[in-house]
Symmetry: C2
Subunit: 315 residues, 2 copies
């Protein structure tokens, strides 16, 4: 199939292929093997690709192949695409040069092919449990490849009952282990999880208490939290819907409802600037004197999301 050169939706459309994976047998040893790639304009065999929204093309490898055949296929593809970028740039003044990323998604079981891509100039963009994403930038100009995920997101849950008792836990592991420190339930918000859902889920998981999300009271941003990534930690208020505690066995040493004053008097809280602020914020909130950000489901043309804002002030 020949590549079709067309400008579409503001980005360069290379090939009119639908989304599909490269399917190659382990015995394929030539880049002219018709199952190993696609014949581009001018008879060069190139990797079959799908376009992304940012002017890039992606190929996902799904079957084993000989690394040297893969190497040859990358070379011919890059040569062909480089020529196309150059000719497009000169024909269409509205096509910005320097906007052409090539992505290769390698499943874990085909990691033996990564070396060939690296030797052809690819570098790593990101990896998840079962795949490695490699990327290459064709144009001479500096790349505009979108950056990898940069932040981990965590929550701390402030759950206070009608007796002014706060829900606290002691953890079995981590840096506070064995120090007798009572702290708010905390947890990680995973990709695909809303902050409010993650908070409710974490409290339930660690303590067995059912809650309703109220507000984000504050958030903290820190850096170099984990493998050089940054961290956003949201302090959330939740309203208890049940009181019975059923502490999780694997992570939690103990959980209890503790009088608020007793919690705040812990040296661990008093000697910790961040926790002193958090305590003051939570106290103000419990007294009805503080407004945080409340989530509201809102839609945008291409996606759903939650907007967190000061709903009291917007009335």
């Amino acid at each position: 199939m020949s590549c079709r050169l067309a400008k579409s939706y503001g980005f360069i459309r290379f090939c009119s292929t639908a989304t599909r994976n490269i399917s190659m047998s382990a015995s394929s040893s030539s880049c002219t093997n018709p199952t190993a790639g696609e014949e581009a304009k001018g008879g060069v065999t190139v990797l079959p690709v799908v376009e992304d929204k940012y002017g890039g093309v992606m190929t996902e490898i799904s079957h084993p192949m000989d690394p040297s055949a893969f190497s040859a296929l990358i070379q011919s593809s890059l040569s062909s695409w480089t020529l196309q970028v150059l000719s497009l740039s000169s024909f269409f003044s509205s096509v910005p040069p320097g906007k052409k990323g090539v992505w290769i998604k390698l499943p874990r079981q085909l990691i033996d092919l990564a070396e060939a891509a690296v030797k052809e100039g690819f570098w790593f963009h990101h990896a998840e449990k079962d795949y490695l994403m490699l990327v290459y930038w064709i144009p001479i100009e500096g790349d505009t490849i979108p950056s990898n995920a940069s932040h981990r997101v965590g929550i701390g849950a402030f759950v206070i009952n009608h007796n002014k008792e706060v829900l606290v836990v002691q953890e079995k592991t981590g840096r506070f282990q064995g120090q007798g420190i009572w702290k708010f339930p905390t947890g990680v918000v995973n990709e695909g999880e809303y902050i409010h859902d993650g908070s409710v889920g974490e409290v339930k998981e660690e303590t067995g208490v059912d809650t309703e999300f109220v507000q984000v009271l504050a958030f903290r941003q820190t850096h170099k939290a984990f493998f050089g990534k940054s961290d956003l930690f949201f302090v959330c208020m939740l309203k208890p819907l049940s009181l019975e505690i059923n502490a999780q066995e694997t992570e939690i040493e103990a959980a209890q409802w503790m009088p608020w004053d007793e919690y705040t008097k812990q040296p661990f809280v008093q000697n910790h600037e961040l926790l002193r602020y958090m305590t003051a914020i939570c106290s103000a909130k419990a007294n009805g004197d503080y407004e945080g950000f409340t989530p509201l489901r809102v839609s945008a043309p291409d996606q759903q999301g939650n907007l967190y804002f000061n709903t009291r002030d917007l009335r």
Copy 2:
């Protein structure tokens, strides 16, 4: 050097090695090569490792080696460590079983060694431009390996001057290209960058205007934004310190100060639920009727960070 078995700071300490990399020659072909690993208790050669805070051990490969030698070294290391985990679990009841991750950091130029690790059961944890991080979990119990970074962080900058004109741009690329839409300057907050610094930097870069950060007015969380990751987008108010516009050539088609009413009347804004909310929030803020979250630098025992909260309500 023999491994020292000791419990320290609440996690298992395997070897008393300082932080260092494995240094092996390409010719090393045996796991008993003294430069290829360390002799553990009982005479087994294992990978030299450093401990992390979470009870894991990490090895960083820095020199080429034969993949089969690497494979043998992984096998002997895992066997030795598995025995240690089992014996530690039975000797020390306070040592939680099921808490032993093994990390291998492979630089890009040594990606040929990844296949050996995958064959021994390792999977991918994350990757950055120049390395791939593989991980393995020794105990039988489910892993508690920390998750990869989950979110990208972006900002939209609301910059309004004394004439009630807002700073807006038209972008050269992206989904709004060529549609005549005027929008707030937006950008990505990278790892290691504070939201307030990123906002000021982005406005300067796109428009040439100097600003001072005021507040986070709201934030939106969405999912599946990019390679399955989630997205946190912070709407920030900034105060202009200069008025002269100098639009960035590569990304920005045009930039201007636009009367606020003219901005809000754009069909693009009117037909977009999220933007309608954002516009209402910005209007309320411009009128002094809305309070967002202001950053304050606060310290915690082990790190510096910025806490963003409603400072007006905490007075």
